[in-house]
Symmetry: D2
Subunit: 311 residues, 4 copies
């Protein structure tokens, strides 16, 4: 499959990992999900991110999930390979790249501080996976407690040819996109593909600021596709109209710790997942929370006809 490049655009959906109620990986739902993502027009998929509960999977399970999806789709696959040591990171990267993945995603260990140490960490990681493997920097301070300034990202991108993409989910983050694009234009760093995460909470403006698209897991990836498409076509109001219609639910999903429970619940209501179970420890939605999500879905259905649910 085509490798990620520094000009990759579009929507890479972060796929949740489906589990049965007993905690086993639910491959049937994974097949259904994979088919769904292709159908709604995402450009690619990202597997085994934080929201894919990657740290709760064994190496063999991780590889199994990636192989399963690769067999069932033509879109490029990015695989999260973050690990405390480079050995595990390399092992998983090597295996999924040889299986056909298009690139890997690497989050910084949450104890990293200072620009120099962040750069050194990525240099070591790149050496571990191999210079030719395209990788994505995951820049998510709210989750990882590591803050990367534009100049750090520039240093990593300038030094490491494998660094082709930024998963941008700093918050606030709009100025960071503008700054990076300015630095690229000034020749201070190579161009990076920038796909935005953070649940999509600012996707409406991020695309206007110069992002190449989205990489996040909102339970209606159709919305992400719409926003990216409308903005690319210069239809600003249309992009914001559809974004605003989804924002109440999107905001509800973007709650640290419980967001994945919301996401899986909606995907179960959409008939994509058989169960909304997470591996333990994980958040569980209360009955009231489920009713609130149902209410938001009902309201959303008034403006978005794609909101159809199973009982």
């Amino acid at each position: 499959m085509a490798l990620l490049t520094r000009t990759t655009q579009g929507v890479f959906a972060i796929a949740p990992t489906p589990f049965n109620d007993d905690g086993a990986v639910d491959f049937d739902s994974l097949s259904r999900l994979t088919e769904f993502y292709s159908r709604v027009g995402v450009t690619g998929l990202t597997l085994l991110g934080q929201m894919g509960e990657a740290p709760k999977l064994s190496h063999d399970e991780s590889v199994g999930i990636v192989r399963h999806v690769l067999k069932r789709t033509d879109v490029p696959i990015v695989v999260g390979v973050s690990a405390p040591g480079y050995a595990a990171l390399r092992a998983l990267s090597t295996e999924v790249m040889s299986a056909g993945a298009s690139g890997v995603m690497i989050a910084p260990p949450n104890t990293l501080r200072t620009d120099d140490r962040i750069v050194a960490y990525y240099e070591g990681a790149a050496a571990a996976i191999g210079e030719d493997v395209p990788f994505v920097i995951q820049d998510y301070p709210l989750s990882f407690s590591v803050e990367m300034s534009p100049s750090v990202i520039a240093r990593i991108a300038s030094t490491l040819p494998g660094c082709v993409m930024l998963k941008h989910e700093d918050w606030p983050g709009l100025e960071k996109i503008s700054t990076l694009r300015r630095m690229e234009a000034a020749g201070d760093m190579p161009r990076l593909s920038i796909l935005c995460g953070n649940g999509g909470l600012f996707l409406d403006f991020e695309t206007e600021r110069g992002a190449d698209g989205a990489m996040t897991g909102y339970c209606f990836p159709e919305l992400l596709v719409d926003v990216v498409r409308h903005t690319a076509a210069g239809h600003r109001d249309a992009a914001h109209d559809v974004f605003d219609a989804h924002l109440p639910l999107l905001r509800y999903e973007q709650q640290p710790g419980t967001g994945l429970a919301v996401r899986k619940y909606v995907m179960m209501r959409r008939g994509l997942l058989t169960s909304d179970a997470q591996r333990r420890p994980g958040a569980v939605l209360s009955a009231t929370a489920r009713a609130e999500v149902d209410y938001l879905l009902t309201r959303l259905a008034r403006s978005d006809s794609r909101v159809t649910l199973v009982a």
Copy 2:
């Protein structure tokens, strides 16, 4: 003025502290703001919170601001008195209470960990300000890095008669409201007034969960008043309709670090502040960001006729 009680309800607007471009307190704008808040129907005001740039004010400036507002309004005033030591906390509390404030707000020092230490901190603070002074616990983990479980809040409320209100801004926080109300109903803790902050990002559901209202500083406090009023009247859809219309802007304002710059900019555009300056160090909005806010205001004006701006 009437003191805060455990059944206080409504909207307490967090007032920004207006500064001139040279950093001096702008008392003319403060007068205008005070009149504005009364006019739009808030129940009370909160001065000298984090978003009031309290840590950047001297003791004398703080007292001057409180006296200025107290002279110009009839609504109850809550004053943020957080300080690293109890001596400063007591000094400010004593002075503003004798000037007519209705209560004080106390945030936890950001190094506090463990339930026991949080409880001990509030015990010491309550002893410092005096048992008869009503105080508000500010529960804002995103800003203060201190997480308070419902049982900690119950311990503080059960032990300290002065603890009458929770400024609830945990995120996620909906279940916390439900849990506290359940504990109250079960007799495990006294009733607290719960007013919600966190920029209002979940106010639509927080009021449904049992919160008594809002205490936050969104640049259109009219929205907060609307949501609380509609919910109290049982008009669920109306509450969500007006909330959803404001959500794109509200979400834009709720960005850590830059939110206050957005808030002050909009309040300047509304003719309430002469300048949107913050005391340094503080965030500054880029031209692009201002244009984004302007765009959001234009969109909002289509559904909310109260959005009128000065050039």
Copy 3:
């Protein structure tokens, strides 16, 4: 082998994991280490702790290391099984307990806040490994950013019969030991075995405060054995004399991030490890630092005849 109990005493040495320069586990050195620990009189061994670079090992490597040591020693073995998800934690725990380990050690995930969530985490972990498996709470705020008050430890110990030991490495921590022993005496919690870590930096007083011994990895475990033995015999001055002689080196080893490099270097100088390599990413000692350690060893050798080194 005998299981850990709530009255276990003595010195459990935290064993480093020996690696060859290429990053492979060095089983020859592991054999030598195991024999060494028995020879110097430790009561037990702890494998796969943070200082054993556990997060950098695969499941199979982890099990292999434990089996290798179990075959070569009669002392009880505690195994670190901390993992982001309960599935991996259970898998490793089950395997090592059936292989003959005496208990497992569980560190809290570094995002845990509030007493209730800490207790809930250990309840889930205990359910995962099984009620009959003795486990050790690792209480190391400096490393894990999780602070456990005495009342949290009491709640865990009171609820979970498997909780038999506290690896105490809070800093400051002396009062915590006294408080726990007071709570036990007052019947507020069951007795726990308390073994002290934090590099041994306060072991001289921790044993006097009521700790049952040490669980740490200082490069001269003989010192730990001496201090525990002298204190148990009531020889206070003797305990402090030997402790103070080692303190300059012990303090040098107790540096976050670089401490393990010092430890492995000294163990290499003592002929126990063939290489002082760590799996990447890991700290590396500069030539100056090595010379400083050599100087400290030379000074220590004047008072402790057991300091014999290879070239």
Copy 4:
């Protein structure tokens, strides 16, 4: 008085702020302390640091303390002026510099992340206090949660002529000193005076690595003077001998949160402070802890004849 320069050397003792039991500043003890510090040969004094409980003092109290000491000593005085806003920082700096202080010390706000933001913070601070005012960077990650790499320090020193000194208390920190001295030698940054803090825990090696001395508050500043003097004279063993004799007590004093209570208690036992009270909230030593300190003092008195105590 002479201003701090980039070649300032020696021992700047961090003075605690003496309080009476009722929380009032104890100026009699402050006079006695000031006389004591001169007598034991410190090069300078640092007032209003974290260990001087600066955040618990009002502006007027702070100025009063500085003036009181300036009248009673000839040694240069550094004053901690850290504050959340630049206005307060400038106000205190201006006042103490005009009163005769030799420089000010500025700690970073504990929310600062990324090299760029740290540099920007110091640029703003330097602009606030004025370009001609010599200032000290306080680099204490354990206390402030802000990590500064050598390159950040180099950027600040290269840009801001007022930046003349580093209060080095990173941990581990030995390599940082070596790196900074190497960068200076290579012409990559101007020379800075480096005085070491962190309670003095590594002062024996820090001076060997190129530090210019100490700036810390150990309860026996005589020890700091000895180590710096012996090292400067090339008497390595003598420096380590006296250091090692004090290390058990020094280590006991270097406990986060309780260290100041130990320091004040010893200074009270030495007849320097009338009370060991801290302003609230602050740590209090248990009877057991006091007995432990007494025991350490008794042991220390065997090798250091300057250990004389009042009952």
